[in-house]
Subunit: 373 residues, 2 copies
């Protein structure tokens, strides 16, 4: 199924695949989709630069993009040490006590991850964009709304498409007014940062709001060809998928994470502020449950919450216990039941979507003759 | 677009329309859908009997159904006076103080609604089914899972289809094992009692779980033809719509409710236990906001919560203030922008759905020739 998105990027399928893993991103682009690398994990811009150089080689000239996390408002900014001082002692105590109670061992001598993820900081996200624009990226997406005007201008100078995620139609209108070229309507069921309006309602609302001006992608809850066809029915010209790639062979995850993902059903996620300070959908487990107990403190605002839990995340991951892994994932995790190569997943998505579109066409009274659309 | 649902009930469109209003239900059935009357408001079975007799006349021989609310577990049962004693004084105080603060006047001399809605009681719901089975109803749906075996057996003896709502695939499997003939997969975005899994994820999951055995309808977030086409893409053989009819001319609402519905956007609902004790999606307003404040008590379990707020609901409705009306409604309330007759709404839904199906068919590589499906 070709849509204007395919023409725009020169891709075979109107599928944008987001992943923090360059291995997944390269495989998506090679298989005919548009791979988008999540940059938030890169504290050091040089490290991102090296990974993008690797991607330039591995995408075989196919287009790819990057995703940054640039909050539109920046309540707190500063060096890690300054920020650390803003974290209440009671919150630190709660984290320590909870880890102890969950049986999560302390870290070994290598405390290198102590600094946490700084990609939530505006300055760090800005460095990601600057590095990305020195590579042949075709898309810069921002998870938290439109990037600042000068960032958009820089991207446009280089012919790079600027995309922004939107959880509400009024936000989408604002994005387009700010100069965004492509809107990703991301529903409540999505993994990671997400709003409260579900895809079924949100996608047509965003399409009606801005679809005449810019292409709209549907995100949230999409992990099968039927769901892709549904997104096209709702007026999207393509889909943005993230969670589905966590179950692929190219995604290098720990055994504990893999087990947790394969085991989880669609009801085993929770939308919570414990990961970053903003509502994000996560695997629900003993760690997230602890934060929803009566005695738990309220999560801190972004970026403090992630600094608070950064070391805990490293410990939870290192514990190799599938019942505590901290992981953003959408409700389609319930569909993740085996580990397969990206190319196979993508081919199946395309085949099922196409089969569904053909079936739907035969349900119409009109039964339009081939080629008349 | 005809599906097996049309054959099953002899209806023109695979649209089931739920409403507490017999005027809406009759109009839906006359216009080619399947109208389903919500019975929970009938404390007196004789009143339901009279309304069904009215419906028998007004549906002109077209099929219609009823919807009851029969909890699968019945934690508390008894006469209203006994139940009243189980309501803590602190909760009553909170309700009174909140109404005062919101500027909601007390009721006049007519306190007839003081008893609240008893339809949440198992015994009352059972009487609804008994009355309904003396009428030519074609469908009995239960909002809270499968009815008890003897109720299913009674319905089957009379050739009546038994439907049950499901918010999870495992619940749907249980419903079918209990003898239910049709499953309504109701997503998070729906109005009234609803689960946490959004339609985009839930519908194909339920179809995969039970679709080979029984027809599956999609409910939640559906109020346009594109959304109907999306539901069919997800594997549903039809849709169940409730909220969309609240904006029709046949739905006799107060001026305050109508204004509140027309004004609300898709973000102006909240999923809360304040209406009945079980999570239900409602219009978000000053009343629901008061219940989510820090100092508010936790809602009581069903059926106590509804008894607690029954008089308050009457007062809130009587206050004619659009900022406090207590009303279950789904996220598609954002699409409700004018008051139109049921027949016009239904015709537009069908036309847009068909147009969408035809458009989708042309997107397929296969472009199946007409009639080959």
């Amino acid at each position: 199924m070709r849509t204007e998105l395919c023409e725009r990027f020169g891709i075979e399928y109107p599928f944008v695949g987001f992943s923090p893993s360059e291995h997944v991103v390269a495989a998506i682009s090679r298989a005919g989709g548009l791979g988008v690398l999540g940059c938030v994990r890169f504290n050091d811009p040089d490290e991102l630069d090296a990974v993008l150089t690797w991607l330039d080689d591995r995408t075989e000239g196919r287009p790819y993009g990057v995703d940054v996390v640039m909050p539109s408002s920046v309540p707190v900014e500063g060096a890690p040490a300054d920020l650390d001082r803003l974290i209440p002692a009671g919150h630190r105590d709660f984290v320590e006590r909870t880890l102890l109670r969950l049986g999560v061992p302390p870290l070994g001598v290598d405390n290198s991850q102590r600094a946490g993820v700084l990609g939530w900081l505006h300055s760090v996200a800005r460095s990601h964009v600057e590095v990305a624009l020195t590579h042949p990226v075709r898309l810069v997406a921002n998870a938290l709304g439109p990037p600042p005007p000068d960032v958009i201008a820089q991207a446009h100078e280089r012919g790079v498409v600027v995309a922004a995620l939107a959880g509400r139609a009024d936000h989408a209108r604002g994005h387009v007014a700010s100069g965004v070229d492509l809107v990703v309507a991301q529903g409540y069921e999505a993994g990671g940062h997400t709003g409260e309006i579900a895809s079924m309602v949100l996608v047509p609302e965003v399409v009606d709001a801005v679809g005449a001006q810019v292409p709209v992608l549907a995100a949230g809850g999409i992990g099968s060809g039927r769901q892709i066809a549904a997104a096209l029915a709702l007026g999207a010209c393509g889909v943005w998928m993230g969670s589905v790639w966590l179950g692929t062979a190219e995604y290098q995850s720990s055994a504990a994470l893999r087990e947790a993902l394969l085991r989880a059903g669609s009801a085993d996620t929770v939308r919570s502020r414990v990961y970053t300070g903003k509502p994000a959908r996560l695997l629900r487990n003993r760690w997230t449950d602890a934060w929803s107990e009566e005695a738990a403190p309220r999560p801190l605002p972004m970026p403090l919450q992630n600094l608070l839990v950064a070391e805990a995340h490293t410990r939870l991951m290192a514990s190799d216990d599938p019942t505590v892994v901290p992981m953003p994932v959408g409700q389609i995790v319930g569909r993740m039941n085996e580990v397969r190569p990206v190319a196979d997943v993508l081919a199946d998505l395309a085949a099922e979507a196409d089969e569904t579109l053909a079936r739907l066409g035969t349900l119409s009274w009109r039964r339009l003759p081939p080629g008349s659309g």
